[in-house]
Amino acid sequence: MLPSRSRLSVLVFLLPPLLIYGIAVLLPILQSLFLSFFSWDGTTSPTFVGTANYVRLLVGDDIFWQAFTNTLIYVAISLVIQIGGALLVANLLFTLTRGHAVVKTLYLLPAVISTVAIAFLFQRIYSVQPEGLLNQLLHGVGLGQLQQPWLSNVRTVLAAVSIPEGWRFTGLYMLILHAALLAVPTELEEAARLDGASRWRVFTAIRFPYIRPVWITTLIMAVTYDLRGFDIPYLLTNGGPGQSSELLTTYMYKTAFTSTDYGYASSISVFIVVECLVAVALIFLLLRRRDQS
C-alpha cells in the first residue's frame, strides 16, 4: 500500500497521459462507433440508419469478407516471418563470436526505412519487365518456369504484399527477443548441457520458457500491428488485382475516402477495433489454457 503522498504523485504522473490517450484514441473510437449508426456521404446531413451498416457488413458485402479472409492470411504470413524469423535470428546471434552489433543493425535497418521506399523496392524486386531481382534469381538457378508477375497474379499477390511487411519488422522483434535471451541465466543452460541436453532441448526447456513473457508481449504487438497493416499493400497493389490483396484497412480507407460512405467506413473501423481486441484475448486465452494443461 502506497502512502497517500505517493499515491498523489502517481496520479499526477498518470493522469495527463491517460487524458491524452482518452482524447487521441478512445474518443475517436467512440465517435466512429457513433457514426457507424449513420449513413453519411460527407456533403449532406447524416441520416440515422440504426444497425443497417452492420447488417450490410455481416451479410451483404462480399468484398468485406474477402478482405477479412485476406487480412487473416496476411497476418499469418507476416507473423511467421516476423516472430518466427526474429526468434531464429535472435538465437543464431549467440553462435556468432563477433560482429553482433553489425548484424543487429543490418537486420534492424528495414524498420527505419520509409514505407514508400520499401514499397518501391519490392515493386522492383517483383517486376517482370524490366526483369526484377526475384525473377532474375529464378532464371539464374534454372527455375525460369516459376517466373511470374508476382503482384499481378491473384494466387501470389497476397503473399507478395505480406513478405515486405514481415521482412520490415523482423529486425525490430529480433532485437527485443535477443535482449530477453541475453537475460537467460547461463548457469542454467550450462547445467542442462552438462546433463546431456541437446541445443533444441535447451531452447524448449530453458530459453523459451524464460523469455515467454517477452515473447507474448512481442506476439501481441506483432498481431495488432499486422491486423492494422495498411501502407505496404496500399502502395504496392492498392488491394488488387480485383480484391486479391484487399485488407480490411485498405477497404475501410477506400470506403471512406473514395466512396465517401463515411458511416459504413466507420462500421468497418469499429470491426477492426473489435477484431484486434478479440485477437489479443484469444492469445491470452490460448496461453492460459496451455499453462493450466
Binding site: Q31, L35, G42, T44, V128, Q129, P241, T258, Y262
Partner: protein, 447 residues
C-alpha cells in the same frame, strides 16, 4: 507507428468530418449578377487546391500571372497546393469538401460528387462567370461540354484541351506484319500477331486504373454514342444489354489475345511510357499532354522516326464519327461559392485573360479558339499532326467513365476490369457483378 497513425487519423478524420459537416455555403453566385460581387477589392492570400504536375504549364503560368497581379495588388498571393496523383487528390478534395474546408479554387472533374456540391450551392456557376468576364464564347464548345454535368450546367473552367490518340511504333507493326486497325474489332487479332513477334502489344499503366477503364468505354461510344454511359451510370442501361456485352467481350478478348503485359496491373505511369518509348511496346493510348515526350527530340532517337498515331477506330454501324473520341479538357477548376468575392473574380478575370495566350506560346493545346499553339523548336512533324487532329475533333465526346460513374461503382469497375483482362473472371460474372453494383450504388448519387 505509421499504421497506428494512419488508422487513428482515418478514424479521427471520419469522425471529425461528421462534426464539421452540414453547413453549406449561403447565397449561390449562379446568376450573372451573383458572379459580379460588389465591393472593394481587398488583396489577400487565396489558395488553389489542384491536381496538376508541379512543373507543368498550368502551374508555372498561374504562378507567373499571380506574381504579376500581386504587383498591382500588394498583399495578394496565390498558394498552389498541388497533388498530381489523381486518386490521392480526389481523397483530399472530397475530405476537405466534407469538412467545409475547401479553398477559394479547387480542381474537380464533372463527377457525381461535384454535382452534389454544385446542387448545394457550394460552387460558382462557371458559365455565368465566364459570360460575365466575356470569355464564354471564346471556348471550344467541346472543351466546355467536357466539364458539364448531365443537366448541361457548367461549374468548372477548363485550362487544357487534350485529344487522346493511339500512339504506335511503325517498325514493330511492320515486324509483326500488321497495319493500323480500321475497326476496333481488329485490335485483339493485331495484339496476337504483335505478341507472337515478341512485342508487348499495348503499354498500359494498370496501377492508375483509369487507362484500362478507357478501353471498356470505347465500344459503347462507337455502338451507342455518348449517351450510353449516361444511362449506365443510373442503371437505366445495363452491361447485360447488347452494347454492354460487346464492350465486356472486347476487353476480355484484348486480355486473352495478350494485348497487355502480364504484369500490367502493377505497372505505373512512367513504366508504361518507358515500355513504349524504349521500343518494347507497340501501342500506347495517351493524350496530347505527353506531346513533349512523344513528338519532340526528347524522344529517344532509336524510336523517334518510328512513332506515329491513329485515332480511336470505328466499328461497323458506328453511331459516332472517326473524328470523335476521348478529347478531354482536363480536370476543371471550380470556384468556391463561400469564399467568392471581388478579389477572386478580379484575379480570375486577369488570369483567364492572359493564361491561354501564354500557354499556347509554350506549345500547349488550349481550350479556346483564336489562339494558335506554337510548335516548339525541338518538335518532330508529329507535333503539328497532333495539333491539326485536335482542331478537327468532332462534336460528340467520349467521356471517360471514371468521371461519370458513382465512386463506389467506379472503384469496383476498375477492380473487376483487371480481373476480366487477366482472365480471372468470366464475362458473365463481370456483367452480373457490375450491373448489381451500379444498381445498388447509383441511387445514392442519381436519385
Amino acid at each position: 507507428m505509421k499504421r497506428f497513425l494512419t488508422a487513428a487519423v482515418s478514424a479521427v478524420a471520419i469522425a471529425a468530418l461528421a462534426a464539421c459537416s452540414g453547413a453549406s455555403a449561403g447565397g449561390t453566385p449562379s446568376t450573372p449578377a451573383g458572379v459580379n460581387p460588389t465591393g472593394e477589392i481587398k488583396p489577400r492570400a487565396i489558395s488553389w487546391l489542384l491536381s496538376r504536375p508541379a512543373d507543368g504549364a498550368v502551374v508555372k503560368i498561374m504562378q507567373q500571372l499571380a506574381s504579376e497581379y500581386a504587383q498591382s495588388h500588394p498583399g495578394f498571393q496565390l498558394n498552389l497546393i498541388t497533388t498530381p496523383d489523381r486518386p490521392s487528390y480526389i481523397q483530399k478534395y472530397e475530405t476537405l469538401a466534407a469538412a467545409n474546408k475547401l479553398p477559394e479554387l479547387f480542381d474537380t472533374d464533372a463527377t457525381p460528387f461535384a454535382q452534389k456540391l454544385a446542387s448545394q450551392g457550394r460552387m460558382v456557376d462557371a458559365a455565368a462567370l465566364l459570360k460575365s468576364i466575356g470569355l464564354y464564347d471564346e471556348f471550344r464548345p467541346g472543351a466546355l461540354n467536357y466539364q458539364r454535368f448531365d443537366d448541361g450546367s457548367l461549374y468548372m473552367i477548363p485550362f487544357e484541351y487534350q485529344p487522346e490518340f493511339f500512339w504506335y511504333n511503325k517498325a514493330l507493326f511492320s515486324k509483326a506484319g500488321v497495319s493500323v486497325p480500321t475497326s476496333l474489332d481488329q485490335l485483339p487479332a493485331i495484339c496476337a500477331k504483335l505478341k507472337a513477334a515478341g512485342v508487348t502489344p499495348i503499354a498500359l499503366d494498370g496501377q492508375d486504373q483509369w487507362p484500362l477503364e478507357r478501353y471498356i468505354a470505347y465500344q459503347p461510344f462507337r455502338l451507342a454514342g455518348p449517351d450510353y454511359i449516361k444511362g449506365l451510370k443510373k442503371a437505366d442501361n445495363l452491361l447485360s444489354d447488347s452494347t454492354g456485352k460487346a464492350a465486356v467481350q472486347w476487353v476480355s478478348d484484348l486480355g486473352s489475345n495478350g494485348c497487355f503485359a502480364s504484369d500490367f496491373s502493377s505497372t505505373g505511369y512512367a513504366d508504361a511510357q518507358a515500355l513504349f518509348t524504349s521500343g518494347h511496346a507497340a501501342i500506347y493510348n495517351i493524350g496530347t499532354w505527353e506531346l513533349s515526350s512523344l513528338a519532340t527530340t526528347n524522344l529517344s532517337p532509336t524510336v523517334r522516326n518510328d512513332i506515329d498515331f491513329f485515332t480511336l477506330p470505328t466499328v461497323a454501324n458506328s453511331v459516332t464519327a472517326a473524328n470523335e473520341y476521348v478529347t478531354s479538357s482536363g480536370i476543371g477548376m471550380a470556384v468556391n461559392a463561400a469564399t467568392y468575392d471581388p478579389l477572386v473574380r478580379d484575379f480570375l478575370k486577369y488570369a483567364l485573360d492572359h493564361f491561354f495566350t501564354l500557354a499556347a506560346q509554350g506549345g500547349a493545346l488550349v481550350p479556346v479558339t483564336g489562339v494558335t499553339t506554337a510548335v516548339p523548336a525541338n518538335a518532330t512533324p508529329l507535333y503539328q499532326k497532333a495539333l491539326d487532329a485536335a482542331n478537327e475533333v468532332g462534336t460528340k465526346l467520349a467521356m471517360p467513365w471514371d468521371t461519370q460513374l458513382d465512386p463506389t461503382s467506379n472503384t469496383r469497375l476498375q477492380q473487376e476490369l483487371v480481373l476480366l483482362a487477366q482472365g480471372n473472371t468470366t464475362t458473365d460474372e463481370f456483367i452480373a457483378t457490375m450491373d448489381s453494383t451500379i444498381k445498388q450504388n447509383a441511387p445514392k448519387f442519381f436519385g
